[in-house]
């Protein structure tokens, strides 16, 4: 008996939630600004997977267009984020999030 398992909508939603959680945990436990930044991108792309899944399940094109907007936003975030990180790295050769501790109270 060959059990062919059809992936259902919820599979993709669960995968998306897992990816989102991985990104979330990554931002919280990793200390390198670049890696934290990559984790945020992972979270955004996990959401994209949700959008596409819902769009397909509902046969509605709205969710798929939303993904394009999110991609543009993610690209803009990369530009700004790397700009800020580079301008900090110029000041100090090696920086982790823990070294940035001038501001506290």
């Amino acid at each position: 008996m060959s059990a062919v398992i059809e992936p259902t909508t919820s599979w993709f939603l669960i995968l998306s939630a897992v990816l989102f959680a991985v990104g979330m945990v990554g931002v919280m436990v990793r200390r390198n600004p670049l890696v934290m930044f990559m984790c945020i991108e992972l979270m955004l792309n996990a959401v994209n997977l949700s959008f596409v899944t819902f769009a397909r399940a509902r046969a509605d094109v709205g969710g798929q267009t939303a993904v394009f907007f999110v991609l543009v936003v993610a690209a803009a975030e990369v530009t700004v984020g790397l700009g800020i990180i580079v301008s900090i790295m110029r000041r100090r050769t090696e920086a982790t999030a823990d070294d940035l501790s001038v501001l506290k109270g």
Partner: protein, 501 residues
């Protein structure tokens, strides 16, 4: 005929998005001309930015009249709403932009800098805020939020010579991106549960009683994540941890803009989503806002008292103020309350107050923008009596003393909470206001009673002085004659009808 050529786009009512067009044009012109022609007279960019803000205010005032005769509606195929709620918010943002541009001129002059970049970023931030507060679609709202945030990340980190500024920029960027991801996930789940991202469609879907039950978990998690994202932006407790660091590290004019326009945008977006799309799920979100409001007013007020840096104090006080606006948002959950009107009034008055206050901090902080501890304010009354007097008025107003704009604002939200029978939250807000008053008294005592040992000279730049004078006069004027503002706020309405086309 090619089918692509037969495509017709949605009708575009350009007058409905004119503020965006004005600002987009100004931002492009400022950047382009600034790089094509290197030398411009000092103050050109500040003047251009302020003029664009004034133009938007004038256009929005005429829009306010038009909406009175034509009623509310939507533009760009239902993506943007046209109502007095958005007009009022846009006016607040434009006022903030105009005032902050003047202070920025003095800031750049003092730091030995000039150039169009900061002004262009302020204008794009204002555009993002305007998109947020008029968005009638969750994706449009997200785009506005990101336009605002991305401009602010750069603005916060813009002082390359000050390490705190860079650090604040990175912190704001990482945490802001984190919150945006939650916000976006919330949008995705709400889209999955309701089948639309358009606020009006979602509202009609609920009204028509679509089968939501099956997707209830999706919807509830979606609402929760959406609230997390917006609560981060308005810095409601427990999503406030970034606020003191970023406000302290950012250049003072940027802090003033974040605390005013940034909050206005996030609160109007929050109000619009809650009272239109999620109107029928009020029992789901009202308790969340209730808890957020109470925790925020208390934590903001109490933590402000123990700070020793005036910029951090004002940051925590801005958290407390966000709590007061949330009191108004909670009141808006009850049918027939004037929670929306009182929240918007609060935001307008707070915008004026906070810009004035941070301008004083900017003046006192001196070159390098670093001297903002309580000690630096010691004996200010002796050195600069009028500056100290102006700051005293602004602080008293923030504390909510009668005959100031701050009293009108606080009284408004607490009154609407009482009218909505939310007595607990009203009492909590009043107690927190008393605790918060201690903070403002502490700064005042430091200015007026403590004597200064070293006679430091303190220059008050002309435009910054003008901004402080304007904010003080406006605060006192509204304190004595609040009628016109309250009457105008009563007319604020949120668009609810079906999308056109």
């Amino acid at each position: 005929m090619n089918s692509l050529l037969a495509f017709t786009g949605p009708d575009i009512a350009f007058t409905d998005v004119l503020p965006l067009l004005i600002w987009l044009g100004t931002a492009c012109a400022v950047l382009l001309l600034g790089s094509l022609v290197p030398r411009w007279p000092r103050g050109t960019w500040a003047a251009v930015t302020s003029v664009s803000a004034v133009a938007v205010v004038v256009q929005q005032l005429s829009k306010w009249q038009d909406i009175g005769t034509e009623g509310t509606g939507t533009a760009l195929a239902g993506a943007v709403s046209v109502d007095r709620f958005a007009v009022f918010g846009t006016i607040i943002v434009a006022v903030a932009l105009g005032l902050v541009a003047l202070v920025t001129h003095d800031y750049l002059t003092r730091e030995g800098n000039d150039g169009p970049e900061l002004y262009a970023l302020f204008i794009t931030a204002a555009m993002g805020a305007q998109i947020m507060l008029s968005a009638n679609d969750l994706i449009v709202l997200f785009l506005g939020l990101e336009t605002l945030s991305l401009s602010l990340y750069v603005l916060v980190a813009s002082n390359r010579r000050r390490e705190q500024s860079q650090e604040a920029g990175l912190k704001y960027f990482v945490l802001g991106g984190f919150a945006s991801a939650f916000f976006l996930y919330g949008i995705a789940l709400i889209y999955g549960a309701t089948g639309s991202t358009n606020l009006t469609s979602i509202m009609e879907g609920f009204a028509a009683g679509i089968a939501i039950e099956r997707n209830d978990a999706l919807l509830l998690v979606g609402i929760g994540l959406l609230l997390v994202g917006l609560a981060f932006k308005v810095s409601a407790v427990p999503f406030h941890v970034w606020t003191p660091d970023v406000y302290e590290g950012a250049p003072s004019p940027v802090t003033a803009f974040m605390a005013s326009a940034g909050k206005v945008a996030a609160f109007t977006a929050l109000l619009r989503v809650l009272v239109t799309a999620l109107e029928r799920r009020v029992d789901d979100w009202r308790p969340v806002v209730w808890i957020l409001a109470i925790v925020t007013v208390f934590v903001g007020s109490i933590l402000a008292v123990v700070q020793t840096n005036v910029k951090r104090m004002l940051a925590f006080s801005s958290i407390a103020h966000a709590g007061f606006v949330l009191v108004g948002v909670e009141a808006a959950a009850h049918a027939g309350s004037n929670g929306i009107a009182s929240s918007m009034t609060y935001l307008l008055l707070y915008t004026v107050l906070v810009i004035g206050s941070f301008t004083v901090v900017f003046v006192v902080a001196g070159k390098g923008d670093g001297a903002s501890s309580l000690d630096d304010f010691r004996g200010l009354a002796r050195r600069r009596p009028f500056l100290a007097l102006g700051f005293t008025v602004l602080l008293l107003a923030q504390a909510g003393v009668p005959f100031t704009g701050g009293f009108v604002a606080k009284f408004g939200v607490i009154k609407s909470a009482v009218e909505a029978d939310s007595y607990v939250i009203a009492v909590a807000a009043m107690v927190a206001a008393v605790i918060g008053a201690f903070l403002y008294l502490r700064i005042m005592v430091s200015m007026w009673l403590d004597d200064t040992s070293g006679e430091m000279t303190l220059e008050v730049p002309r435009l910054a002085g003008l901004v402080i004078a304007l904010t003080v006069v406006f605060t006192l004027f509204v304190g004595f004659f609040p009628g016109w503002l309250l009457d105008a706020a009563e007319l604020i309405g949120v668009h609810r009808a079906a999308p056109v086309g």
